[in-house]
Symmetry: C2
Subunit: 139 residues, 2 copies
DNA sequence: CTTGACCCTAAAGTATGGTTTAGGGTTTAT
DNA sequence: ATAAACCCTAAACCATACTTTAGGGTCAAG
């Protein structure tokens, strides 16, 4: 396998070189070998690992969770069920976020529906409903 | 109207006293009058304003956006349509977030469906799909 | 008159995921 | 041999919304 510089890995994976060094500090990618002049030397494996990280991020995993996923992946005794449970838990937190956003959406839609969009803000039903003493059924 | 200390307002609104001082620094609530010993003296109005802020936050508005809403509210020339437009724009960003979360959810569900939850992680389809060279139809 | 509950300020810390800066070597092409 | 393009480190900075800490006054009850 051929040697890659930090810039090569950055280009291959689409991340900033500073980000690669940051991932290394965070323990998400192993410390690579170094040249005599102290330059990092990566293998293709490192680039693959960065892509793993990016994909997991796209699925909503935090760097800490990805770190857990990676150590699970490297563990000889870990069971597939553990990974599945992490994914299932992530779905639950996604659902919670969606529910919260939907509630906001519904509340905002109601307010907009009440607002003709005309007249001064002193008559604005949206602002009015945000004021104390007039708690509409926003929840 | 009777005078309220920062602690009174905190209790009435359910926020931390440090948060009230923070809102003041951020320009979300006006600087209140002070006693001879430099204690903040609030009116009921201030408490109402804090509740406005909390409600707007619950609808997904950031402190900066709430600041805009508050100045619009105080403006004699502002039109109700401006508030409506801000709310409409907020709905659009909420929808974008929901869409992104739904996409994650779908992708994770597919992965979980593929995983029997048994066997070592070396055979885990979830981890496999996150690896390079095996980009399933996650999007 | 002392003690505990409150108040004050400025500054630093928390969490998340990076990016930017400062200051300084190395490698590559011309 | 020199300039551009890269590499290195440590530390600071960005956004968001607060909380915590440190060090120090004030007020009400007993």
């Amino acid at each position: 396998m051929k040697a890659l510089t930090v810039g090569d890995v950055a280009r291959k994976t689409g991340v900033n070189v500073a980000t690669l060094r940051y991932y290394e500090r965070r323990g998400l990618i192993p410390r690579p070998a170094r040249t005599a002049s102290n330059y990092r030397i990566y293998t293709e494996d490192a680039a693959r690992r960065v892509l793993f990280i990016k994909r997991a991020q796209a699925l909503g995993f935090s760097l800490e969770e990805i770190k857990d996923l990676l150590s699970l992946k490297a563990s000889p005794v870990a069971r597939c069920g553990e990974v599945r449970e992490i994914a299932a838990e992530k779905i639950r937190t996604i659902d919670d976020k969606v529910d919260a956003l939907e509630a906001m959406r519904v509340a905002l839609s109601k307010l907009i529906a009440e607002c003709a969009g005309e007249g001064p803000v002193s008559d604005c039903p949206i602002l009015e409903s945000l004021e104390a003493g007039k708690p509409r059924d926003l929840h």
